[in-house]
């Protein structure tokens, strides 16, 4: 069965510090990996994706993510957190040609001034 795990329900970071939001996956075949962000009472916004190529992917708002095939992980990172980064973050996996995403349970990021 395909699955995506976000082991941390919540991540607390001080503004200006680096942040990491973790994601691991279990799928058969080669996955396409995504990160989305959701602000309160809003739809999900696309941040970045890994399809193939360089394991380090850069996305919107200064975020990046590193694909690690051996650890089946796709952690989201940012060198310096902003208070405005506080939101709910979702990792997702798409199996090619299956037209379906598998979403993680979400991680709430709190960035404190």
């Amino acid at each position: 069965a395909q699955s995506v795990a976000q082991p941390e329900d919540q991540v607390n970071v001080a503004e200006g510090n680096p942040l990491t939001v973790k994601c691991t996956y279990s799928v058969s075949g080669n996955p396409y990996l995504f990160w989305y962000v959701q602000y309160p009472n809003r739809g999900l916004q696309f941040l970045l994706k890994y399809i193939t190529g360089d394991n380090l992917v850069k996305g919107s708002y200064g975020f990046e993510a590193e694909f690690n095939k051996s650890q089946t992980s796709f952690h989201l990172k940012k060198p310096s957190a902003l208070v405005s980064d506080s939101a709910l973050y979702f990792c997702a996996v798409l199996l090619y040609n299956f037209n379906k995403f598998y979403f993680g349970s979400g991680t709430k990021l709190n960035v404190k001034p």
């Binding site: 396409y32 995504f34 989305y36 999900l44 696309f46 994706k49 040609n97 037209n99 979403f103 993680g104």
Partner: protein, 113 residues
């Protein structure tokens, strides 16, 4: 550029009443369309997806149904709402190749009383 609309933004309905939520996409043709439900501000549950007019796949059996009367219109319906239908409903679209990003609408907040 592509835009996705959902309405209404907020809805309060009594138990047993009917439901109709609408989603439309502009700026693209032949999209894949999706309905998700998000309960308690967390995980996303895929309800329906459609790869073309009149083609609907149901992921979770329940008292909801979906229809796609036009290429860029996706409707979520119920004949009789249950308390458990309360939640945040998100529509999303993607190009039909199957490996592309899903883009989400702003969502509809449904409260069943």
């Amino acid at each position: 550029s592509q835009t996705i609309h959902q309405w209404p933004a907020t809805l309060v309905q009594p138990v047993g009443s009917p439901l109709s939520l609408e989603c439309t996409v502009e700026g693209t043709s032949n999209p894949n369309l999706y309905w998700y439900r998000q309960a308690a501000g967390r995980g996303l549950q895929l309800l329906f997806y459609s790869v073309g007019i009149g083609q609907i796949s149901s992921e979770v059996p329940q008292n909801l149904s979906a229809s796609r009367p036009q290429d860029r219109q996706f409707i979520l319906s119920s004949k009789k709402l249950l308390l458990s239908d309360s939640g945040f409903y998100l529509c999303a679209w993607s190009v039909r190749r199957g490996e592309e990003t899903q883009y989400f609408g702003p969502g509809t907040r449904l409260l069943v009383l």
